[in-house]
């Protein structure tokens, strides 16, 4: 097995610097990811949270270099174990995807092929990335299916996706993603389509495997409850930009960006009932309506003229806890 890069303990597994992904639309270019930087250490989880259209999924797809026209990565660096992925030729990038870095999705059916058996697909991936025989690959497949808690893995390997329940499909997709020992896992809303009791099982599984594989995990979700349960660090996004970043406890107990504050207050909080929810007035602006400055400007109770026109400064409140805002809540 390859152990790429240098693995001293301070180096982040994934480091994203000033990433920018632009969609060239009829209405003009639109930066779906606008100057995003973050890093994830080995064994740690970064949660990216935000509402539809905030750019959290585009960020993940950009890291995997899975952006297709009209979108294009227009700037920045994506450094995985010391290598800038944006500079790699496509064939080497293919080695990275599913090898060093894997991704799981909300809907397993988008990642799994309905006309091939589960086992066949996982075998294929292992053979693509490792020099092993078919029989060896199948052994590894069965081992993986067992690891993710699929009962009778020998038989299940011969099933097609439609023969599995939603939770089992999610497990199969996780088995496939982890089959080549990735150092980095990107999980894009992996439990959103699942029932709560099944969601709890899958979250537990991801955390267990993270420890076992010592992976860095980038976990994308719109669900604040899920994020606070799985993430060590949290990044809040809005309109393609970073609003706030910090340790999970800092973000939830002491939020500073007006959007983070509003997001937390607008969600019914279990066991903490209020008669009336706070709301964020208005709706997320369309891409061409985004102001040149802070994307949250038109819904922000603290917005001023400078917010509309200028990019907000990064303010640090505690080590590692920052908000990009002219008028943060303190």
């Amino acid at each position: 097995m390859s152990t790429p890069g240098n693995l001293n303990s301070t180096q982040a597994t994934l480091e994203v610097r000033n990433l920018e992904t632009t969609f060239f639309l009829k209405s003009g270019p639109f930066k779906a990811v606008n100057d995003i930087s973050y890093s994830i250490q080995r064994g740690k989880t970064l949660g990216i949270v935000g509402e539809s259209g905030c750019g959290k999924s585009v960020t993940s797809f950009s890291v995997m270099r899975l952006i297709e026209g009209p979108g294009k990565i227009t700037g920045g660096q994506v450094i995985l174990n010391g290598r800038d992925l944006l500079k790699l030729p496509e064939d080497q990038m293919e080695d990275v995807r599913g090898g060093e870095m894997a991704m799981i999705f909300q809907e397993p059916m988008t990642a799994l092929n309905p006309v091939l058996t589960i086992g066949h697909q996982i075998d294929e991936q292992i053979i693509r990335h490792r020099k092993v025989s078919k029989a060896e690959a199948r052994n590894r497949t069965i081992e993986m299916l067992q690891l993710v808690g699929i009962p009778s893995p020998m038989e299940r390997a011969q099933n097609y996706t439609h023969q599995l329940s939603g939770g089992m499909r999610q497990r199969a997709m996780i088995a496939m993603a982890l089959s080549c020992n990735p150092v980095m896992l990107i999980a894009d809303e992996p439990t959103t389509a699942l029932d709560v009791t099944i969601q709890a099982q899958i979250l537990e599984l991801i955390q267990k495997l993270q420890v076992q594989f010592n992976m860095a995990v980038q976990f994308i979700t719109h669900d604040l409850g899920v994020i606070s349960e799985v993430a060590d660090r949290v990044m809040v996004m809005y309109g393609g930009q970073k609003c706030e970043e910090g340790d999970s406890t800092q973000i939830f107990s002491n939020p500073h960006h007006p959007y983070t504050v509003a997001l937390i207050e607008s969600r019914p909080r279990f066991g903490n009932r209020v008669e009336r929810l706070k709301t964020i007035e208005g709706t997320v602006p369309a891409p061409h309506e985004l102001p040149p400055g802070c994307p949250f400007f038109n819904r922000c109770p603290r917005g001023t003229e400078e917010c509309r026109m200028l990019k907000p400064p990064v303010v640090e409140f505690a080590p590692g806890h920052t908000a990009n805002c002219f008028h943060p809540v303190v």
């Binding site: 099982q201 979250l203 719109h222 669900d223 409850g225 606070s228 279990f270 929810l277 709301t279």
Partner: protein, 322 residues
Amino acid sequence: MAEILMEAKDLKKHFPVRKGFFMREVGSVKAVDGVDITVRKGETLGLVGESGCGKSTLGRTLIRLYEPTAGTINFRGGNFLDLGGKQLREQRRNVQMIFQDPYASLDPRMTVGQILEQPYEIHNLFTPTERLAKVQNLLKLVGLKPSHVNRYPHEFSGGQRQRISIARAIALEPDLIICDEPVSALDVSIQAQILNLLKDLQQKLNLTYIFISHDLSVIEHFCDRVAVMYLGKIVELAERDTLFRDPKHPYTQALLASIPRFGEGRRDMKRVLTGEIPSPLNPPSGCPFHPRCPHKMDICPTKMPALIGTTEQQKVACWLYE
């Protein structure tokens, strides 16, 4: 105690499963299987459970969108199931529905004005000018602009479309509205707007809601009483605060333990329920929860316990409390 608006007894809705060339009936999905429920005037009754538990089917059967297989429904003091033709149409004015998907529940080829006038047309109410005034008033009530009447659904955001669905549901001044996952498809910040709107309208128009959701945080926020369903049956029914403070049924307990809570940091997930939800096509015998239940006893697979009151505020169907 508040006046009872609707009461259903031993309500069942079974869907036949057909197979083969002759489409012979080979079995049935017992989506709702022997439910007793009362709805009090002015309250919000929550129906909660995981996919396939029958919460949506129960909601739809209660207002006869589905004809029940067995059981009785009493609505506004009369037998709802006996009604037909004109009388049924008349009574249906009093029950309305809001669906989850505001994209699918509005006709894309009709303007908002046409959509909102339709209830009046169907029931032959008002002159065209009166209708326009009514529609503009409805739009104001739900927080949209009267000038929106000539726009089409695609010109609105998800939250605004849900407002249009709500306007349509209140057009005929119904007593009861079934809200089937009304905020599940919306972003968090928009959910709060819609929940607040529903609450305001309830007070203003004296509405009764049956609120269906899989999201326990939303249920806790919004409902006065809550019925927890599992595979076609109500396993626990209680006042909100009682249910969330002291859940009795092992399934309710597991459900509450599974909710990710924010602000409490990383949490051990020891009380995670094992196993999957069984197929409603072939539910387990006796109490359908027994294969996943941590307190399973000998009697559980043999007989379904009745929903009985442990206190005035709480009813539970579990052998632990018999």
